[in-house]
């Protein structure tokens, strides 16, 4: 060998070594999400459990929050087909087709109710599965599980009344669950699950009252009373549940935790949040989440408040207003209705020329354009009326039943009911329910539960099928259930559509 000026063969070794050296760095490709937990690594502490429960409370707002093209609120779905509500918003197709009974399964409300309810149910299912594994105070754990069970029942109760048979999912779903594509479960099994959940919640150590807006045991019992009453009616007709409904309602009444506000202004007083006759509410607070409900009920563009849009989405049918008994305080100006208002903008009295809903009017918001009046899901008068109706069905009108309904009538400055037969008492209670609980998402469910509809013209009750709404449309048995949403059926071939849709 004479000289050496060759390059090092190490180069070629490195060619092979470099890629090899890095392939050991497997962590480089790991997902690194610092903003959110995954289901797997969550549910380790009591605080995490609390946040999961809080999320269920937050989900209540989906019922009143605006969705869709014209900010229609899901609760409106249950008002328009009653015939008690008109609208001044011409462009809202979803509202108009429900009002004129010409909706089809595309109606966005059907999708929104379905989707939001099942989302909350999935969250409740996850909490119920995972919270037991957390090492935390046993009493708190039990209470949280009770809260989650209540919410699951609350949403299933809506689903079963809106759609009839619905998929009954009580465990979290993942991508490989067969229940990702569920079938509709018979309605009776859904009700059984609801009763079971509410029974769990009832004994979970919830407080008798909670001014912060969290669940109290009275709300559980009230909902259970409503569930029993519904089960006793159509379509299940488990008549024995009338007594159970009466008993549960009576437990609420005798608990002494609730009382009617002396005046209807109490309904609109923010100091009364979660107090008095408000048993269960969706919470609002200016600066965190404001409510659009108030704005939706304002007469359209009359410039009486600082709201830039006074929507007029839901207005009372004049026929309904006229159906109140003469002298009913609730029909007086600025009780449940109003026909004029002193504009906060001009200081002038604006006459509307017809009645509008004042029940949810937020006086403060008129000047701030920010409303945080809570939306009420369960109000004491409903419990009183459930008791009156259920106990009447179970054995005719009792004095306690008269007392319950007369509490409401007294506040309305109406004479007490006395000496009615079971049948006339029944209709008197139903009428009272229309008049007291109108526009609170109660009337529609009573219509399909009883399959009787208040005839606004003569004060009697018509059969649901064949009843003509004030604008002339006639209810058919198609409307005993709403449609399974088109989009959901498109995505789950195991679902069947309800009759007529």
């Amino acid at each position: 060998m004479k000289y050496q000026s060759k390059y090092n063969p190490l180069f070629f070794i490195l060619l092979l070594v470099i890629p090899g050296a890095f392939s050991g760095c497997k962590k480089y490709l790991d997902e690194d999400n610092r903003s959110n937990y995954t289901q797997e690594n969550y549910f380790q502490t009591a605080d995490q459990a609390q946040a999961a429960i809080n999320n269920l409370y937050a989900s209540l707002r989906t019922i009143t929050d605006g969705t869709g093209t014209y900010a229609e609120s899901p609760y409106m779905m249950l008002e328009f087909p009653t015939g008690l509500a008109n609208t001044e918003v011409g462009q809202s197709q979803y509202n108009n087709t429900l009002r004129t009974l010409s909706a089809n399964s595309d109606n966005n409300y059907f999708y929104v109710w379905w989707t939001n309810s099942y989302n909350a149910i999935a969250n409740a299912n996850l909490a119920i599965e995972r919270i037991p594994g957390i090492n935390m105070d046993a009493a708190t754990k039990k209470r949280m599980l009770g809260e989650a069970a209540f919410f699951r029942a609350f949403y299933y109760f809506h689903l079963v009344r809106i759609y009839g048979d619905v998929p009954l999912l009580l465990k979290p779903i993942n991508a490989s669950s067969p229940e990702l594509y569920p079938e509709r479960a018979p309605l009776a099994s859904v009700y059984d699950a609801i009763v079971s959940d509410l029974t769990t919640a009832e004994t979970s150590g919830l407080p008798t009252a909670d001014v912060s807006g969290k669940l109290n045991v009275g709300a559980v019992k009230s909902l259970l009373a409503s569930v029993y009453l519904t089960m006793a009616g159509y379509p299940l007709q488990k008549k024995e549940n009338y007594q159970k409904a009466a008993d549960k309602a009576n437990e609420v009444i005798t608990s002494g935790a609730y009382r009617l506000f002396p005046t209807y202004a109490g309904l609109r007083n923010k100091a009364n949040k979660n107090l008095g006759e408000f048993i269960f509410q969706s919470q609002y607070q200016v600066g965190i989440n404001t409510s659009s409900v108030n704005q939706a009920f304002l007469p359209r563009a009359r410039k009486i408040t600082k709201f830039s849009d006074e929507v007029g989405a839901v207005t009372p049918a004049p026929e309904f207003y006229n159906s109140y008994e003469a002298g009913d305080l609730r029909t007086q100006e600025q009780q449940f209705f109003f026909s004029n208002y002193v504009s906060v903008l001009s200081g002038q009295t604006v006459n509307f020329g017809s009645q509008y809903i004042f029940k949810f009017f937020d006086t403060e918001a008129a000047t701030t354009a920010q409303s945080d009046l809570n939306w009420t899901f369960i109000r004491y008068p409903e419990v009183l009326l459930i008791y009156a109706e259920a106990s009447n069905e179970a054995g005719g009108p009792t004095q306690a039943a008269y007392d319950a309904v007369n509490l409401i009538r007294t506040r309305a400055q109406l004479p007490n009911l006395t000496g009615l037969s079971q049948a006339t008492f029944r209709q008197a209670i139903w009428r009272e329910k229309y008049h007291e609980l109108a526009y609170e998402n109660k009337v529609w469910f009573d219509m399909i539960r009883t399959r009787q509809v208040y005839n606004l013209a003569n004060g009697t009750f018509d059969n649901f099928v064949g009843h003509a709404l004030p604008a002339g449309q006639v209810l058919t048995d198609k409307y005993l259930l709403f449609a399974i949403p088109t989009r959901e059926i498109n995505n789950n071939k195991k679902l069947t559509q309800n009759a007529g849709w």
Partner: protein, 1133 residues
Amino acid sequence: MNDRYHSIHKGCFNSSKMRKVAGLIFLFIATVLIEVQAGTHLQQMTLHEKNTPVETIFRLIEKQTSYHVLYDKLEIAQVGNVTVDLNNGSVEEALDQCFRNQPLSYKIFSSTIVIRKDETKLQKNAARQQQVKGQVNDDEGQPLPGVSIKIKNAQGGTTTDAAGKFALSVPDLNITLVFSSIGFSTQEVALAGKSTINLALKAESKTLSSVVVVGYGSSRKSDLTGAVVAVKSEQLAQRPSTNVEQQLSGKVSGVNVSTNSGRPGGNTNIVIRGANSINSSNNPLYVVDGVVLSNGVTDVSPISYLNPNDIESMNVLKDASATAIYGARGANGVILITTKRGQQGGQINYNSYVSISTIARKLDVLNSAEFDAVQDASYRNAAKYDPVGFASGKYRDPAAVRRSLPELYDANGKARFDTDWQKEATRQAFSQNQNLSFTGGSAESTYGLFLNYADENGILRESNLKRYSGRFVLDSQIKPWMKVGGSLTFNSVEDNRVDGGQGGLNVTRMLVETLPIIPVKFADGSWGSNAAYPDMEGGENPVNLEINRRNIFKTQSAIGNVYAEVKLLKDLQFKSTLGINVVNQTEDFYSGRFLRQQSADVQGESRITNTRTNYWQSENYFSYNKKINDNHRLDAVLGISWQHSDREASMAGAQGFTDDFYKYYNLGVGSVPLAPTSSYEKYTFNSYFGRINYTIKDRYMFTVTNRYDGSSRFGSGFKYGNFPSGAFAWRASEEDFLKNSTVISNLKLRTSYGLTGNSEIGQYRSLSSLKNSTAIIGGVRGSGVGINTLANPDLKWEKTGQFDAGFELGLFKNRIAIEADFYYKKTTDMLLNAPVPTSSGYTSIYKNIGSLSNKGIEFSVTSANIQSKDFNWSTTFNIAINKSRILALGDANDDIFPNPFFLSNTNIIRVGEAVGSFYGLIREGTWGTAEAAQAATFNAKPGDIKHKDVNGDGAINDADRVVLGKGIPTGFGTLSNTFKYKNLDLTVDLQYSYGNDILNLSYHSAEDRTGQANSYATVLNGWTPTNQNTMIAENRPSLAGYTTTVDSRMVEDGSYIRGRNLLLGYNFPAAVTKKLKMNNLRIYASVQNFFLITKYTGYDPEVTTYADNFAQGITFFDYPKPRVFLLGVNVTL
């Protein structure tokens, strides 16, 4: 014994420090060890070597004597061949002869000769240098400026001046000069004693000689096996624009550039060879000087922020042979952008233009008299459609309304105002663009400094985009064996987007829907709005929105890269690059206290959103270029790549302002703070890639590539994917039977097949991520956590297999150049955000499902129709025809309905149909009087819209919806003619597209319903008992009920021919520029969008107002398009 060794500093990225950017560069350390042996020799030798490599001489010396010769291979690489003529001479004599004109010297240590670089000799040489000068022309005798002249096998060189002249110092007059210029054949001239050289360079066929940038390297166009099209800066400059995508439009067949908005900066969408992907992005991968551009921080494409004037070339990689080297992200095509670099000889370039934009088309809407007439007709008809409501007095007589509005109507009920909102809310917008660049350097080092200022005003008032950009590049051959360089680009863009907002806050919608009877401002200075007229939907005055709502995006981006290129062996190079792309964006939003709906209720709302995207990449690769012999060449690339991107975003906001003064500059003034948000996300890539090109006899070319790609985005067991490709090309024109053909000057046939991937689905899609919510407990905020995404641990790569066959044909000395490609692409394991039954609590899951195909033909021809001394005419025509089809969708082939959802599903993905299909009912017209009974069964009356009962079940519902059209064109392309007469040039550039439909959702609110806002003038053709043959329903207040849903009436033919650009330029002759001491002076004028022929009734058929994947062609009120008149100047010193 080693004379060189290298060590590689390597590390694993697990250690946090090594994850840092700096840790990613490989360091190569070279050390030379010299072995010296003792001993003396005095020997004679004989050498007769002509033009022999100096290394060979050394070897002969070693053979004939007992000397060892030690040298640095890289140093002698510059010497090249030498001539030695020696009879029985000494070693010293031989070496003296060898190094006579070479910057080398030698020393003899006993039996070893050490060759060294000789600095003194270099200087001496310089002192002895002689001058060579001359003139370089083209083959038509015109002087050629900018020709590069280099001394062969040595250092030193120059370029010709504007007159084609040059002067150069050379060591002696026996050297050889190499003349090269883009577009001309490189020519070598041996001086052979002459000191004056006059030369005519032969023009080369541009398409063949031009260098095309491919992934991790470059290639001569003639050597390519793949479908790659290069667009040079001169071509881009034909259409001056602030936006580079708009400049690219039409330049490459098969590349569909849709400028979907008239907003400054554009909202441009690029799709190459059809859309492959349903949910992940269909945009190509952009690589700037090797740096992958991460996705934009907003809906804006990442290259929108580049200064077009910085771009030297855009190379579009279309087929799998070309894109597979980018494996994972190559499926949508790759656009490689090379930026301008420095060049030898100082040069200053100034390029400036100013422009005026005006609204190119206006829509016909109701004027005041027509509006009142429609209101009157509607009122009369309310009784028919809502008799109960009408009887109850629900409807107000417009005549009475007018009487109650004295500020809007005079005593005779005549409107006081007739406002043309499209005029009031738009303007003639003045824009300017200034570019200044400095380049310079020597043969070893070049640098460039590029500056840009652009101020583009949109035709909507207040809409504006300003860009400041600066870029510095440096390239240096710091050692004969090492080249280093880099570039740093800084862009600062500020744009005010006035066209955001929903519903009545959407400026572009309110251009149409604001009532003509309303003034912009009332006499008292207050803003007019539809609220001044009863029963209107609450839309805001568009001028008020433009002025009192601010939505300003401030984006600062830095793109930088540094590289080191090391010559390891004669044929082996190593290149290490480090790239960064940092984007900081602040979105400032303020909506004033008097804007109804949006912010009046909350007394003004302000939000500041900050997003910081941080991207870096480290890529290291070896290139091996070996000419085995005259017939065989081998090029190979092998490398590794690491990429990392993370993004942090935060938002702060407040409501409740005491006045509009503060905007977003003092959130503390707001009485109600909004809940702040912040987020973090990250993704990483790790890839290994390689490519082998093998060329036989310059005729048969083979390419094999592979990329093994890993991404953090997929399930833990599916991180890596493999993306191979193979290609073959045959240059038939090099074969004997065609070589001498007078007709066919170039014929290349090529074909390729390969797999590429797509991973653009965002982060964390395989995980069961949770999300937070806000509960209110006791009046205070309570944090909630709930489900968000449905986990798919099996999530994996979407793959596209692409077959391509094409040919390139040059006729008559390439005066006609044709390029055509056929391709078939099949995408499988499509990444789909598939809807799931929402009973699960979730709405969708990311999964791999189904397949789709795209097949198409691309054809382009460039023809030099007339070539003469004074007059040239050339034509470019291209067309791309693409057909897409969904092949399979999951187990059951169920339809999928992608967004945007508008009243009902707007789109459908159905097996057998094209992607981007529109979906809805068929509108047959309106129910006639004679059909009253039939109409009643559908809940309708004569005068109502009549939809087709497709399935005949007696009801109009979802089952009656059908595919109505598609948003993606069947074919599109360009026809461009350039005429040159002496120094004048004229370019006429036409663009066309056919087979694409527009889903014009604006009919929903501007035609289907009346009485809520202003309408299109088409409602004047609404149904009446005497006008029954119409698509448009009878006028009525919307409260009386109306029908609207996505239907065939909203689907319009979007085919068009556009006069895209008309450009007239003048290059001042050399005589003038010389007097002005300039190298080049050009002025030009252009009209862009100078005509538009289309049946479409909206502003422009190139449109989408949605960001969804298949929303191309779906519009709900868009930013009108401008016609642009432009004047520019380009000066080179």
